[in-house]
Symmetry: C2
């Protein structure tokens, strides 16, 4: 579907080498529907390119994160998840039963952010909020 062309372009623009490993990692991130973990990226890439090592995945993610091209989110569970930065900010409804991650529009929490600032003088970073619970499918 989507081409990882934009991020690839930015990498080579800035003088970074376009190795097959990086291209496949980028492809996995851009073609993922929801947020993907390092382990999931690795599993996807290793199927086509068995030689790759997971430390390359982690190093590539750190590079992309540092360049602001992908966003790292801590949705709990002891592992980070990643998505392309240009897909914008949004929130997540995480189903505790089936693990589904539902995206939630940013405007949804605008009033909450205002309240927190007013009542607690707390500048909430609501770019990546995770709300845990149970989704429609898993309701009894």
């Amino acid at each position: 579907m989507k081409q990882p062309g934009d991020i690839v372009g930015k990498l080579s623009e800035r003088g970074y080498r376009l190795t097959p490993q990086r291209l496949m990692i980028l492809s996995a991130i851009e073609n993922s529907d929801n947020h993907i973990s390092a382990e999931e990226i690795y599993a996807q890439v290793v199927a086509k390119y068995p030689h790759i090592n997971i430390s390359t995945v982690y190093r590539t993610l750190e590079l992309l994160k540092g360049l602001g091209l992908v966003t790292e989110t801590d949705l709990g569970g002891g592992r980070f998840r990643y998505h392309p930065a240009d897909k914008g900010h949004h929130h997540h409804l995480v189903c505790r039963e089936c693990g589904a991650i539902i995206d939630l529009d940013e405007s949804m929490l605008a009033s909450l952010k205002d309240t927190l600032l007013r009542e607690y003088k707390f500048i909430a970073d609501l770019r990546h909020l995770a709300v845990f619970g149970r989704c429609v499918k898993c309701r009894k």
Copy 2:
């Protein structure tokens, strides 16, 4: 300040042994202002009782969690945090700069919960929501 008497009582009621290690771990949890991690409990106990092992801390936390006496929360950062269950549910404002954890009243998010149920048919578990951002002290 607070006495860990209530949890201690429930433990012995149910036939669990009251070892000095357990008493000190309970004391650390009950006297903690905000949510405490296993490592922090261990550091606090080891100062007075150098013989204790961190696996005892984890095993005690698992026991207390299973009995519903303490609550385990995943506030990110790759480690769990704990607090006494009788202190009730609340939300957390986590400062990304100084690490402060500010408790937020449960009623605060009641309207959000309603909206999520109405618009997404998602049953939000808002007992332990973590909102990241920057606290008053760390504002420039």
